[in-house]
Symmetry: C2
Subunit: 662 residues, 2 copies
């Protein structure tokens, strides 16, 4: 080793693994200004393959960081799922069409985009937030957690040794496939058909005295986002629980030459006896085929024989399944193969100091298009919490909600994937007496029900100090019926409202960027009605008072909305109201910028984009209104009456830390 | 001079001036792969000021180059115009609200964005098209046109001497305003209150023996986009015709501190006796105020006394006009002043070898938000024509349409601006007997009518070899009634259609990028109806034949759609049709990429974005259908029956050049 030991540095958060889960945490921490390092053992980011569907919810999250539009523009949009099954003569035929995204659940629909582009968006975002960079070719070799320091907010209880690899070590080996004379990248090194190479890398790099250096990093918090073989998880001694199946799948990314008419649709094709293909149309004319391998590589319950799997074998299987349609290619972009397994981690954190996210705590099949999404949403859940604790805004106790909230999601995912994979991998039933076959009606039904789950919109977090659902322990309980469609525990739904000051239409979600702020949404109702106006005056007086929660939790010198932002949506009409009709706390004054014109909105007809009908859609009575508290990740914490300022004050008191008086 | 003369180089097109008009031409030529140089005497691009409204049509054009979304995202959207006038006591009051963009005329609405950002989008676009860069600090000093070479397609009849300036010479002088201790940029150096400095620069730079070099450039074509004082225009000896007014206006870009409730709306404020203010809300909390200066600088019909104009004087005028509302600022971003004048060039080109565009051929007041738009649209009209001629696809004769089409637009603009400026600059009438005052009803009416003009959508090009309107000379005449709302001479309107292959909704305009291609749009009608299907079969046979215009004008080895692209929209239903129901010429085959899935669309209901109702909206009968020919700039050349392949063939024969047989 070149250097060691004494070379000690300090960081608030250390992230191991720069895939989507690690990058999502880095994005949050960069945005919130938390001192962070992110390392990855690989020498470069992903350039080929690793495409995946992006759920509606993932696109909403991307948009909250400001790059949803880039994903939307570059991706392939999937609109429809076509189910193909054998007819009575065994020939495949289209049996159903269903929308890929359930209409109305989100302002986005599911799309597909290469993981390399998604990583690029994160990297650009991190660059724009002060220049956080991924350190590549860096491998952790030793991990210690000092349990005596767990509850000390200034301490660095995590110690990690990091080794810097040479470029050759950090480059994964390829199998050397070539097509039409050009070398093709494959993803076998990440597949569960290959053994993990971390231990080997540690061994190999230790022998190379010249190229490598080692350093010691002290961190307050750490994330292991280092994949299914997670080294961090192994150091912590946590297990993954679940099972493998015998199904082996090949993946081809090709520009297809085919007379199959639905090649640009998402298709599930069940052949009579030759297995199944899933078609995922991608950007740049590419199509991904997931192909069940029923013969070549299957090895009687043992790990598959990797040497027998290659693009020709996979294409051959697809041709058999899709016959009588022809399919071939001249351009192969990437390929891999894997064996399905579904597992969930027993623990998602060690003492809320070292966390695990993504494949490190849940593995499953890729075909449902969930993996990358759920992984990113893990660390999206975690990021603002760590930032808030590190910055001294919140008590450490909120970190317990990470495992509470995300482990259940992982379990749901595994259950969904288990059911879906079996239906997809099975042979279609020949008739209703064919008990071993899969009923195609059951398959279609599963697909349609799965679509809501697969959108990411259904996520519903349980009661906790930050989700004021009814429970024995919660000191604050919501009044859900004031806004029946703003569901506590779920992400804030979105409709269009108009900015009062300039009549511009905005989706509500566009006004909820991921910047670490809590939000109090004041649904003021019809303020041209005197009783509503009086409620708003009283609420304004409480919020504007010196001891209000807006003041108590705001650090000295910080902007008025830096920790908790107040956003108001009244019921209109727009033309009868102006922003000066509201107390100043709803449109705060700054001596440089003047009054804030971007805090008050109205539910009214726009000139060009219709009428969001917020009050009607959310079930809010304009003559009652309500208060809604949103977490920094846009999940609904609380719904209650405009008159109950105290409940909201009590809610924030449960986990926020009062700042020094100023 | 460091070096001279012998240093001769050749370029297809030389552009002088890298403002919006020059950059627009550069964008086209870069996209079409034409060898181009673009020079500007200034040392840097614009960083402050120079903001302007972007018309709907300008945003459509930006989108056709792929950066409409960037402008849309960064700009301030203007939704409403509020008119403020004196009440009977002389106090200003809001008298009307009108939509800033007429609903339904475009998929975009008018926005405001700093010119520096717009230049950035162009520069990024040019970079992405092979790396065309602006050469800054470069000044033309001598211009010759060899009239003996005008008609030779391989000749370089334009000779220009270019001098490379030192950095100091290329930096415009500032007046040195400061606010709150920081220096403020102003735009006086570009204002018509300042004399042009080109002649001075040439003199000064000639004396500096060390820093400067001179080179000789030979060009096939040249554009003078060098502003109101155009050196190119002066060399050609062309005049601007028109008049000046006595009105002097100041411009302030500030972050306002004000209790005026409509400061984030576009406002026209007429005070009783103190003049007028126009409010243009901008991005980043900025507001631009155009303020009539009635006292300080006015100098009895002579050029205004520039030394008497400064930000305090301009703000003071605004405060008087906007009283009793208060307005002040702590942040001043930029300021300038100008005197209104309306002039149009007598000629827009010298022998269709040297062209003028933008302020070089039309000047007018900035308040109508037209200047930058019309300037960019000049060179948007010109760019594809030059590219097509340089590449040998079209006869030089199409270049005559530039002046035919754009001079009329400039005249319309001047007339509009003349009327609008007088209404805006005048004193409001006290009552209907006040004949010298401006009627506020007339003003509102002018504003509303002006909005269509100001959108850029109303542009209607006259009959020519590339616009098959009825005229004596035109060998091809359209049948407008087959698609009454696809108006010949106007830009193609847009509604949403679905891609047949993947059900994705697209605005038609999104499928008409600015890449130099002509398009034949086949509105196939209801192809499940046998007579329509037969028409399409016959049309497919004609288009697919060896001698068809698609073949004749395609260079050897070029892609099937490189010069003329066929796009089809049928009337559905989507589920009853697939792309293999159409002859192959409608979905061409490539041996690497397979069939083209991106050429056939359907007018049907989408899952998430409604139903464009194209056939109904455009007035096309699904049992007739029609053919539409679109120019590369999306203007409609021709509308005719599906059965009349020959008319379209004849149309293209009028100006296209048959390529060598292959």
């Amino acid at each position: 080793m070149g250097s060691t030991g004494d070379d000690k540095s300090y960081v608030d958060v250390l992230i191991v693994g720069a895939g989507p889960a690690g990058l999502m945490l880095a994005a949050w921490l960069a945005k919130c200004g938390v001192k962070t390092r992110i390392v990855d053992k690989r020498g470069t980011k992903v350039f080929n393959g690793q495409a995946d569907g992006l759920q509606c919810r993932t696109l909403e999250i991307f948009d909250s960081f400001g790059f949803g539009d880039r994903a939307w523009k570059e991706s392939n949009h999937m609109l429809e799922i076509c189910l193909w099954n054998p007819d009575s003569n065994g020939k495949i035929q289209r049996s159903a069409r269903i929308p890929d995204t359930i209409p109305g659940i989100s302002r986005f629909q599911q799309v597909v985009l290469h993981q390399g582009r998604i990583e690029r968006f994160f990297l650009d975002h991190m660059e724009s937030c002060g220049g956080l960079h991924v350190e590549r070719g860096v491998l952790p070799t030793k991990l210690e957690l000092d349990e005596s320091l767990l509850d000390s907010s200034d301490a660095y209880p995590v110690t990690v040794h990091l080794r810097h690899l040479s470029e050759a070590e950090a480059t994964p080996q390829q199998t050397g496939t070539s097509v039409n004379g050009s070398a093709i990248q494959d993803g076998l090194f990440r597949s569960n058909l290959s053994a993990d190479d971390t231990a080997e890398l540690i061994r190999a790099s230790a022998l190379d005295a010249k190229a490598n250096t080692e350093e010691v990093v002290k961190a307050k918090y750490m994330l292991g986002a280092d994949g299914a073989h997670s080294w961090v998880r192994q150091q912590l001694g946590f297990a993954l629980e679940g099972e493998s199946t015998d199904y082996i799948w090949g993946v081809l990314d090709i520009v297809p030459i085919t007379d199959f008419p639905d090649i640009r649709m998402r298709c599930a094709i069940h052949s009579a006896d030759s297995g199944s293909v899933m078609v995922i149309p991608r950007e740049n004319k590419l199509v991904r085929l997931y192909i069940q391998l029923t013969t070549a590589a299957y090895n009687g319950g043992q790990r598959a024989d990797r040497s027998k799997i290659n693009p020709d074998v996979i294409l051959g299987a697809a041709q058999k399944i899709m016959a009588p349609y022809k399919i071939s290619y001249r351009r192969l972009d990437w390929w891999t193969a894997y064996q399905i397994g579904q597992r969930v981690g027993t623990q998602f954190s060690a003492h809320e100091r070292i966390f695990l996210a993504g494949d490190a705590v849940h593995t499953h099949s890729p075909k449902a298009g969930q993996g990358m999404n759920v992984s990113m949403q893990d660390s999206y859940n975690l990021g603002w919490k760590i930032a808030s604790v590190v910055k001294g805004h919140s008590h450490r106790s909120i970190l317990k909600t990470y495992e509470m909230e995300r482990r259940k999601i992982a379990q749901d995912l595994i259950a969904f994937d288990h059911r879906f994979s079996r239906l997809f991998s099975g042979r279609p039933a020949r008739d209703i007496m064919d008990a071993e076959g899969i009923s195609m009606d059951a398959f279609k039904d599963a697909f349609e029900k799965g679509n809501l789950f697969a959108s990411g919109i259904a996520v519903d977090y349980c009661s906790s100090m930050i989700v004021a659902k009814e429970s024995e322990s919660n000191p604050v309980v919501s009044v859900q019926e004031l806004a029946p469609e703003v569901k506590i525990g779920k992400r804030m739904p979105s409709v269009k409202v108009l900015s009062q000051a300039d009549a511009r239409p905005w989706h509500i979600q566009e006004r909820l960027p991921s910047n670490g702020r809590w939000r109090v949404m004041v649904f003021a109702g019809d303020v041209t009605n005197q009783p509503q106006k009086e409620k708003i005056e009283r609420l304004g007086a409480a919020l504007g008072s010196k001891g209000s929660f807006l003041q108590r939790y705001k650090p000295t010198g910080a902007r008025y909305d830096s920790v908790i932002e107040v956003l108001t949506v009244h019921a209109g009409p727009r033309n009868a109201v102006d922003i000066f009709d509201f107390p100043e706390v709803f449109r705060p004054y700054d001596e440089i910028d003047g009054w804030d014109y971007e805090k008050i909105f109205v539910d009214d007809l726009s000139y060009h984009e219709g009428h969001g009908q917020l009050y009607e859609t959310f079930g809010i009575d304009p003559n009652k209104g309500c208060l809604v508290v949103l977490r920094p990740d846009q999940y609904v914490s609380y719904v209650g009456p405009l008159e109950d300022y105290d409940a909201v004050d009590r809610f924030f008191s449960g986990f926020m830390i009062a700042q020094p008086a100023h």
